[in-house]
Amino acid sequence: MSTNERKKTSVKLGGVTLEVERRGSGRPLLLLLGEEHLELDAPFVDELAKSFEVIIPSAPGFGHSERPDWITGPDDIAYMYLDLIDTLSLKDVTVVGFSLGGWIAAELATKNNGAISKLVLVDAYGVKIGGPTDRDIMDIWTSNPTKVAAAKWADPAKGERDFTKMSDDELTIVARNIESFARFCWEPYMHNPKLKQRLHLIKVPTLLIWGEKDGIVETRYGEAYGKLIPGSRFAVVPGAGHYPHLEAPQAFMTTLRGFIG
């Protein structure tokens, strides 16, 4: 459990209310959650909150955040987060994004680097590397759920969640997250065709961290992604799948700390 106070706030951006959690104190770190929001209860976030103020927005349609119809993808969400950085008057922000959050972080950094000091993408989606029939990103929506779990986790047992023990509010969030993930990422599947052409605009130091055994987006995808971002570094966390921060938190934190301090 958290030893840091979790300050739940809501921030109105252009008429859309997002829930934003603020934890710890220090330099600002914008933590962009993965599509399942599993980071919220992970110990590594409390660890980060000892030296950073960790700012954790829920994307539109995720958690308790609103989802107006005009928001159709990560590109729109990235603009909202630029608005958030501006509204909260954040400077020298370290941006760390996981999975879908990594995609949004990359979009954000292509639009404006001004307030960002460092960028970390963890097993992120967002670009299409190969041709029309190449499977860059496993199709999680046409694959048997058992296969998806095996691709996502080095140890699938770690990904099991007992929904029967959750409250209706928690289940509503799970269902909203599943729905909004599909709303934004169904087609084009998990990528923005324009992002690849924009990644050279990222001028801040960038680290990509990848789980060695990620079967959703494999390390070769991560390496190709990194080559599109000038000067970026690529690091692998051994023995972990799509969520290295959850499956191998110590190795993950060592890598992360080595980059963000």
């Binding site: 046409t142 048997n144 759920p145 929904f163 029967t164 959750m166 729905e179 599909a182 709303r183 169904w186």
Partner: protein
């Protein structure tokens, strides 16, 4: 009451069902033999022509990437029937307008079929079952909005215009819209829509005078839906047309034993299976339903019924089978249980039910059952005030 013949045009010639993980979406198309397919298409069309001959109306639909239904373009079937039949009404139930993504093309096709058939067409619109999301690659979270935006555009495009108009909606943007041909019927063919648990959808259909149709549901739930429809008549007024339609599996034979055997074949449809990832695409049903799904208390309709006995399904009104008098009695009972309905949509063919038995059941129904139910009163609003006004 109007009676309709229906087959999904199944392709039953598969390896044993127990050996397959799915019959939908991902069943390898190597199992499709075009020569068998050719025979099946022609046979099913022949059966529609027999239905027309004996005085039944003709209902068709479409699905994609599935052995349960090789009719992949209902407008093609309807076009063939428009030309080759002469009496029965033809209803497409329906056009998957969200999945096809081009409402104007549908509007054109329907207008053309309505002209060829000289006004015998009814035009249904469906959101499409969950499996269809994958073959069409429609965003599963927006199909309801796409459906209604599409219907509105079709209806507008069917009307006479003085000059072309532009449409800039959420899902469709088109310019210089000016439909040639216009439909044969004025102001346009009857519109049908399907639904199950979404009461708002049902009321919306009633408010616009659309026929509301539902399939293979227990009679209590059918009554709940039809009551919702009838009360919306009262709430929103009666714009004309409209009505209710229900589809059970139907088999009529000279003896109870034969009827039971025929009906048994029809249950093939209920046993059609699909892999879990295709059954409930993300965001296809509302968040509240998915909360129940996570708890394990919401399962699909077909899944729930598959395990039930034929006797149970007969009791629920999901299956209707027996001798002509027994079938007529069952339909009247169902009619009373659900508060009346206007269209009996009969899935009279499914799975391995062969041509001979299908034709025999259809003919017997038309000759000995239909006269007994034809004069059942049409749907009325729950409160007649609106209709009277």
């Amino acid at each position: 009451m109007e009676a309709w013949h229906f087959t999904e045009m199944p392709y039953p010639n598969l390896p044993p069902i127990d050996s397959l993980s799915t019959m939908r979406v991902s069943l390898s198309n190597k199992h499709f033999d075009p020569k068998i397919g050719a025979d099946l298409y022609n046979r099913y069309l022949d059966e529609y022509m027999i239905a027309d001959d004996v005085g039944l109306n003709l209902l068709c639909n479409e699905h994609h990437q599935t052995a349960t239904c090789i009719d992949v373009a209902a407008p093609l079937t309807a076009a063939i029937l428009a030309r080759q039949t002469s009496k029965g009404r033809i209803c497409i139930l329906g056009n998957p307008i969200a999945n096809r993504g081009d409402p104007l093309r549908i509007a054109e096709e329907m207008a053309m079929i309505d002209c060829i058939s000289r006004g015998r067409l009814d035009v249904g619109f469906v959101r499409g079952v969950p499996y269809e999301i994958f073959a069409a690659n429609t965003n599963p979270t927006t199909t309801v909005e796409r459906l209604w935006e599409g219907i509105d555009l079709v209806v507008k495009a069917w009307a006479p215009t003085d000059e072309p108009f532009n449409f800039e909606g959420r899902f469709t943007q088109r310019r210089a819209i000016n439909l040639w041909p216009r439909p044969y019927q004025t102001p346009h063919p009857g519109i049908w829509i399907t639904g199950s648990s979404d009461l708002e959808n049902i009321k919306r259909a009633a408010g616009r005078g659309f026929v509301f149709a539902t399939f293979l549901q227990p009679h209590e739930k059918v009554k709940w839906m039809f009551d919702g429809y009838r009360s919306a008549y009262r709430d929103t007024g009666l714009p004309g047309g409209g009505g209710t339609a229900y589809m059970p599996l139907v088999y009529t034979a000279d003896t109870e034993a034969e009827a039971e055997k025929g009906a048994q074949e029809l249950t093939w449809y209920l046993n059609a299976k699909a892999e879990p990832q295709y059954r409930n695409p993300p965001g296809y049903v509302p968040v509240e339903f998915n909360v129940n799904a996570l708890k394990g208390t919401f399962t699909g309709r077909t899944d729930a019924m598959r395990k039930k006995s034929m006797e149970f399904l007969k009791e629920e009104g999901v299956m209707v089978y027996g001798t002509p008098d027994s079938v007529a009695k069952q339909i009247k009972r169902l009619y009373d249980l659900v508060g009346g309905f206007d269209h009996l949509l009969m899935m009279q063919q499914a799975g391995w039910l062969d041509h001979k038995r299908t034709a025999s059941s259809m003919k017997l129904f038309a000759k000995e059952v239909y006269p007994q139910i034809r004069d059942l009163a049409r749907t009325k609003p729950l409160e007649t005030r609106a209709a009277a006004e």
